[in-house]
Symmetry: C2
DNA sequence: CTGAAAGCGCTTACAG
DNA sequence: CTGAAAGCGCTTACAG
C-alpha cells in the first residue's frame, strides 16, 4: 500500500522526477504542456506531497509546538484558539501538549518538540528554572513565553503577556472607590508569578491609599483541584465580618467563591463585592454577572504566534505586554454602610 | 548553525554512522565499549535524534491529527485533554486544528494532516458529506470519528460517541417523574445529529408516556453565537405559562437559559426545571447547581485515542458508544401545583 | 561486532 | 526547457 510519489508521476508522464517536482511547485521553466500534463496525472493518481520529505530536505517543518498547563482551562482554551487561528492561517501545523503545571514536563515536552524539529515553540505558564533554560538555550529553538510564571525574565528569549500588576491596581482602584476598606485576595498557587503580581498590584495600591496591611488578607490553597472548587473552598474559610470585598486570581476562582456565598446566604454585591480576572465567557452569565479584569485572551494567543512568526522570519521584534481592562458588572457595589472608615 | 547528526558523532568516535545509529537504538550487537563511548559523545554534543528523518525512513511519523470544531468549547476542552493524555503516554505527538463547524474546513484540515503523514486522525463533530468521505477513503488514513454529526454512519470508518438518544430518554424520564407535562427542548443547530437524537429520545419517551406532541416544544437558534448566549436568547422567547421544564442540548445552553430566568425573576426550580447535558465543570457551581445528563468527557477522548491506537496496531476493534448518566442536582424539582394533568 | 550500500520522498544547483 | 546527481538524516538488510 505504498503512497503515490513524484516518482510514480514521473514514470507515467515519461519525464524525470526533477521535472515533476518543478512542475508541482509551479516552476515557470517547465513548459506549459508538460506542466499541465503532470498536474493532471497528479490529480488522477490522488497525489499528496509528502511534507515529511520536504521538511527533511528543506530543514524546515512549518510546524509549531504549543505547551500549555491545562487544555481544559477556560482561559487557555481561548488563548489556544488564537494561537491555532494564526498558525493555521500561516500554514503552520500546531502540536499541542499539556504540562499539568509540572516544570519537568514542560521541558520534556519541549524536548519532544525539538526532536520533531518544530520551527518554533510557544510555552504557556512557563515555570522553567535556570537549568532547564540552559538546556533550552542549547537547543536553540525560537521560543516565546506566554504569560511566564518564572520569577524573573528569561534573557535571550521572547515573551508576551499581560500586565498582571496593572490588573491588580485596577481591581484595587475600583474597590477602593466603592468604599471597601476590608478586603481579601484569593490567589492561585499553581501560577506563582502572575499570582504574585496581581496580589502585589492590588495590595500596593490599597496601601498607597492608606489602607493598613492588616486590612488586606491573602488566601491561597495548596490544592491542585480545579479553580472553581478552590474558589469555593477558599471562600468557605473567610470571616465575612472582616471582609467586604474579594479580588480573585481569576474568574473561575471568583465564580467558585460566588457560589459559596450564595449557598450560605451572603448577598453579592450588597454584602460582599467580588472581582475576578480574565473575563471568560461565563463571567457575563453568572448571577450576578461578574465584575472582572479582562484579558484579551484570543489576542494574547494571536500576538504570541505573530511574535514567533516574526522571529522565524528574522525580523526585529519586541516583547509585548498587553494591558488588562476593568469590566464593571453586577458583582461589585458600594461597601455596606458602617464598614467604611 | 547545523544541528548535530549521527554523522558528527561517527566522526568523533571514528566509526561509521551505521554503528552510531545502532548504538543509539540500543542494538546489542554493538560492543559495550563503543556503545558507551558513542552514547557519551552524543550527550556531550547535545545530540537529539531527528524525528523527521526517522519518520521518512520508517514511513511512520508517530503523529496523530485531531480536528475539533472549537477548542474553547468547555466540553471539547475536556475531550481534548483525554486525547492528549493518551497520545502523550504512547509517545504520539498531537496535531490540533479547529474547523469552526465548517465541513469544508474539516476536510481541508484532514488533507493537511495527510500531507504531514499523520499515522491516524480523530475528527470531532464530523459533518463530512459523501463526497468528502469518498476523498477520505481514498487517502486511507486510519480515522476515528468522535461524536459524529453526520446523519448516517460512515461505513468503513471507526467511531466512538455517546448514546445521545438514551440521554434524551433519561432527561424525559426524570422530568416526567417530577410531574412535568409541558416541556421544551432547547436545541443546537451547529450539531445536527446529536441535537436530533437528544431531542428525539426526549420527545419519543414523553410521547410514549402519553404526552401530546403539542406539549413538547422545540426551539432552535440559527445563530452561530456562543452557546451561553444562545441559551439566554432562546429562553427569552419562551412563554413561561406554557412550560414547566426545559431540556437543553448542553450545559452551556442550559446555563444561559438559567441566567435569563433569574434575570426576569423566574424561580428555578420552583417555577421551572432545567436539565442540561455534558456535566461540564461549571454545572456544579451554578445556582442552583445544574441537573444534567453527564458524559464521560475525558474518557470519550481517551477511548477514541485507544481505538485509534488499536487500529494502528492492526488489532481488531469495535466502535464504542458510551452511555450517559443522569446527575440530579438542584435545577430540577416537582412541577408547580396545578400544572400536572 | 562493524561497514558499505541502498533507500525513504523530496528539492535544487549544475550542466546541457 | 529538462535531466542526472547530490544530499537532507536517518535505518537496516546484506556482507564480512
Amino acid at each position: 500500500m505504498r503512497r503515490v510519489s513524484i516518482e510514480d508521476i514521473a514514470r507515467q508522464a515519461q519525464v524525470s522526477h526533477s521535472t515533476v517536482s518543478r512542475a508541482l511547485r509551479g516552476n515557470k521553466r517547465i513548459s506549459l504542456a508538460v506542466r499541465t500534463q503532470i498536474l493532471q496525472i497528479a490529480t488522477e493518481l490522488g497525489y499528496t506531497p509528502n511534507a515529511i520529505a520536504q521538511s527533511l530536505q528543506q530543514r524546515q517543518t512549518n510546524t509549531i509546538g504549543l505547551v500549555v498547563a491545562d487544555v481544559a482551562d477556560p482561559f487557555w482554551g481561548e488563548v489556544v484558539k488564537g494561537v491555532e487561528a494564526v498558525s493555521m492561517h500561516n500554514q503552520k501545523a500546531l502540536f499541542l501538549s499539556a504540562s499539568q503545571y509540572e516544570p519537568s514536563r514542560q521541558l520534556a515536552v519541549i524536548e519532544v518538540f525539538h526532536q520533531r524539529r518544530v520551527d518554533g515553540i510557544i510555552v504557556g505558564d512557563s515555570q522553567l528554572g535556570d537549568a532547564q533554560i540552559t538546556r533550552l538555550a542549547r537547543i536553540k529553538v525560537p521560543t516565546v513565553f506566554l504569560n511566564s510564571q518564572a520569577d524573573h525574565a528569561y534573557p535571550g528569549f521572547h515573551a508576551v503577556g499581560i500586565d498582571n500588576y496593572a490588573g491588580g491596581v485596577l481591581a484595587a482602584q475600583h474597590l477602593w472607590a466603592l468604599g471597601h476598606r476590608q478586603v481579601a485576595y484569593l490567589g492561585s498557587t499553581k501560577r506563582p508569578a502572575s499570582n504574585h503580581l496581581r496580589g502585589l498590584g492590588f495590595a500596593d495600591t490599597l496601601r498607597g491609599y492608606g489602607l493598613p496591611t492588616s486590612a488586606i488578607m491573602t488566601h491561597h490553597s495548596p490544592s491542585l483541584a480545579e479553580d472553581l472548587r478552590i474558589g469555593y473552598e477558599l471562600a468557605s474559610t473567610l470571616d465575612f465580618t472582616q471582609v467586604t470585598a474579594l479580588f480573585c486570581y481569576n474568574d473561575s476562582i471568583a465564580l467558585g467563591a460566588l457560589t459559596y456565598c450564595r449557598s450560605v446566604g451572603i448577598a453579592v454585591p450588597q454584602q460582599l463585592s467580588i472581582v475576578g480576572f480574565d473575563d471568560v465567557a461565563m463571567a457575563q452569565f453568572s448571577m450576578p454577572a461578574l465584575t472582572t479584569i479582562a484579558q484579551p485572551k484570543v489576542a494574547l494567543g494571536e500576538t504570541a504566534m505573530h511574535l514567533l512568526l516574526a522571529v522565524l522570519a528574522g525580523q526585529p521584534t519586541i516583547d509585548t505586554i498587553l494591558t488588562p481592562t476593568l469590566v464593571v458588572r453586577q458583582s461589585s457595589a458600594p461597601a455596606p454602610k458602617g464598614t467604611a472608615q
